[in-house]
Amino acid sequence: MAERCAIVGIGQTHHTARRDDVSIAGLVREAATRALDDAGLDWPDVDAVVIGKAPDMFEGVMMPELYLADALGAVGKPMLRVHTAGSVGGSTAIVAASLVQAGIHERVLTVAFEKQSESNAMWALTVKTPLQSAVVAGAGGYFAPLVRGYMRRSGAPDDTGIRVAVKDRANALKNPYAHIRDPNLTFDAIAGSPMLWDPIRFHETCPSSDGACAMVLTSERAIPKPKLAPAWIHATAMRSEPTQFAGQEKINPVSGRMCAKDVYSKAGIANPRKQIDVAEIYVPFSWFEPMWMENLGFAEEGQGWKMTYEGATALGGDMPVNCSGGVLSSNPIGASGMLRFAEAAMQVRGQAGEHQVDGARIALGHAYGGGSQFFSMWIVGSAKP
């Protein structure tokens, strides 16, 4: 019964440590305007707005969608605000897609952003709880033990994470919007960067960025005069599990495996490594690439690191991952998931410029959040589903 949903416009800001030239509204608006321009649409054409971002403490504005209604042309329209922690950019896009698939709206603008420079990422993510003793140092401090567990369990060579970072930073040089565009980030430079949360080095870590991403989604009948063929949504899926419970598989979460299985089955994908041409996945710390390769079913458990090692995940490999440079190269937290979804769509539209995978027809967008417990994914294709 669901309507087909097409991605007809994609926009993003140049991601950077501090966008000092714009307000929060200006930042969000920039991505949204680019998405509308890409679609060949104007503000009055939009039926509804779905916006997502990570904790409101980043900007110190509670429910900022209220203040952003004017900037997003939402006045007189429905406006929804999604927050599913780090996966929010992905789940926001999925809510927007649902509005079209349900036949409720024809043209939906979806936006995600973070202006992290207004405060401090580590503070905003780990506000101290009274009567507890703070022992986890931000997201890096939370995820580093999981990386160590993965290293121990898989026996992956110690330099796997460095290789992921080398690849993603090289890819970022081909992406004009990426935050970290530094040709000097060689293997030695990354290997020699200081350990922050051992085993995670400085250059194996995502930056803290200001940035936004936006997409225009439409029904089949509402596709505007195409400047560029749309990307089609073949399937979406979300899964969540509790933060901490007995028997939880933190390194290879069941929620992520179920989510992948669900999205593949809906998209008719039996062999993801063969059938998916390119993947944009949420890798805030380099070691999460091999971990997610296993979680997503691209590799057997314990074997994900080999894909990095053998170059399979490189731009010219058989399973290119994060050709945009990924979260490792740009991380406006609330937007990071939507950027993965948008980059996947850009690939199947042939819109990715220098980081384009030749002939990409099917792409995976992936985001995760919380303590590896919230997952959102979509499969997009150049052909109608």
Binding site: D21, W43, G73, V75, W123, L131
Partner: protein, 154 residues
């Protein structure tokens, strides 16, 4: 170490403070407004239809379009369009003594600005009252560069 831990019916409670010195980049439109405030002036921005928004908005709330790059001097006087009275001000609010919050349509503006009015007593407030800004001597480019408004005839 948490001070002032209490046991309330078997449940422990403790003070919790959320504090951060946010620093906000304001962008070109609000930047003009704050720069004018620092210089002791009030300005609005024109929409593409010619309505004058004060405080300036970056985008026309009616249409979603960007505002025109045309700034207009407004005020300094204006008219109260509605108001409420604060008998016990909170510490962060503009005045330490009872005052009014008011929406003030400055002369030359089509929308109203929210600010405090130092009227002394609620009996001196009314819709339609003309008010003027009381500027701070030390201005930095902030909405609080106007300490408050006061009745024009005072």
């Amino acid at each position: 170490m948490s001070q002032d831990v209490r046991d309330e019916n078997g449940v422990l409670t403790a003070p919790h403070v959320l504090e951060y010195p946010y620093r906000r980049s304001v962008g070109p439109v609000l930047g003009r407004f704050f720069t004018a405030l620092r210089d002791g002036k009030l300005i609005g921005v024109a929409t593409q239809q010619g309505r004058v928004l004060v405080p300036p908005a970056e985008y026309d709330p009616e249409t979603g379009a960007a505002v025109a790059d045309r700034f207009v001097d407004v005020g300094p006087g204006g008219v109260v369009t509605t108001w409420s009275w604060v008998p016990r001000p909170r510490a962060k609010q503009p005045l330490g003594r009872p005052f009014a919050w008011a929406l003030i349509r400055l002369d030359g503006a089509d929308t109203a600005l929210l600010h405090a009015v130092d009227a002394g007593d609620p009996s001196r407030m009314r819709t339609g009252l003309r008010v003027v800004p009381r500027w701070r001597a030390e201005r930095v480019g902030h909405i609080a560069d106007i300490e408050c408004f006061t009745p024009e005839n005072a």
